[in-house]
Amino acid sequence: MPALLEISGVSKSFSGLKAVQQASFNVPEGEIVGLIGPNGAGKTTCFNLVAGVYRPDAGEIRLAGRRIDGWRPDQICRAGVGRTFQLVKPFAGLSVLENVVVGALNQSPSVRAAKEISARVIEQLELKAKQHEPAGALTLPDRKRLEVARALATGPRILLLDEVMAGLRPTETDRMVALFKDLNARLGLTILMIEHVMRAVMALSRHVVVLHHGQIIAAGTPAEVTRNPAVLECYLGEDQL
């Protein structure tokens, strides 16, 4: 059985800058895979390639065996890929609930059903007290939570999380980690996460892919990767983890 998400030989350049070169890795169904690397390594570009924001120059991306590279972002979302944005993009003028309802309408055309889905997701992400507040008035941690809630409400098979822990306090990080663990265990939700907060990566991922200058330089369990000399040199050495 093929992995849920297969990325094979994918490359993307921006006017000469090779953002991602010949990247290949798989995200098996039900797994939580971490994508790490120093700033500018090409992690977000990688996400944008999977989510359809960019079309790869070369290579193939498959979701459950079906090629999705070259599709539009909305088609990829409907195919079952939910994503968050590193720089959060809330619908600022709409309430938290309405934000989530927009996502939930991807699962169900009925507004009433979408509201029920949203109520559950909002509960899970501890946004219930703020559900009628305009999203533009939320604090950054709450906006991060809202990003996750919206993506989750689309009913994805795989969730792409782009630095959702950044800016959270350690206790909040632990709560978020617990939430993803629960979603993964209970619903079998597959997750691909870009994360700088190693505490979260270590707690969640059994498999980590390390990107540097657009190339994959290591892959394996968190323990293996953190012992890998190439990783230590390029990444952990610099960042003083």
């Binding site: 003028g93 709409l94 309430s95 309802v101 991807n106 507004v111 919206r150 993506a151 689309t154």
Partner: protein, 340 residues
Amino acid sequence: MRSGWLDDVPQRGLVLLLLLLFALILLPAFANDYLITVLILILYFAYVGQAWNLMMGLAGQLSLGHALYVGLGAYAAAALYVHFGVSPWIGLWASLAIAAAAGGAIGFLAFRFGVAGVYFAILTIAFAEFARLAFDHWSWVGGSAGFFLPVANYARNDLLNLRGSPTMFYYLLLAMTAGAFVLCHALLRSRAGYYWLAIRESPDAAQALGIDLFRYRMYVVVLSAAMTSLGGVVFAFYYNNLFPEQVFHISRSIELILAPIIGGIGTLFGPIVGAFLLTTLAEGLDEIMRAIGLDVPGVKQIFYGLCLLIVVMFLPHGVWPPLAKALRLDGEPSKDHSGC
């Protein structure tokens, strides 16, 4: 703007709404001819303002060429009536179709090739200007010399052919404005309404949540164009004359968007409140200027401009949001913070 906010409007809000409608229905019995013509203007601007608001207020697509749809609707129904004796009730379907097609063509060009924001607005102006020039030279509908409908004598109202007294047009426009309100209210609570608001707030995020941007932008442009064209049909049969130089002129497109802007973009009551204030202001200024003997051309426009300036400066979200709060009709926990 919270979608579906009538859910939360207190019972007395609905009662007030019905009372207002009731008062408007009874009004012609007490109003003189002059007042009726002013009310017709108010309702006309409320109606076309609502149609424009659907596109800009909900979906964030700025059109500065809505006179195009008014004109196409007006000319289509008028030409069918004058040349073939087709009742405007049948002609309006041609108006709807032609305006929808024009909106669709503009939308297709813009959204397929990524023309957005101010460039989209320029495209809408360009199409209105094309139409103005084309109709100027199209002799079948009178060209620049104008197109005239046979003027009825007002002995009897002929609703079938829309020939009759201003009171008939008043009721017609009242029904249309109420209908547009109900339609927009329903749309706002539908899936499309949520999607339009999402596209207005952030197209990228909307697309990432599975929204087909092209499709939903096309829907709103076509719908807004079609709605606007019905205003054009009434315009043609009320005024009985059409000049391309006036009908399609950009000043008409601007005039039409003032009511929703002053009233509150993206709110259902905005276009209605705005149309009421602006038309009353314009007419009132006429009276005041005449009374104080300051009948110099242009003075009225300066005062009108000043009033607009003051509203925009002090009530950037329009008159309705604070008014709703004062009347305690807002009941909506979230407000439009987008500033558009």
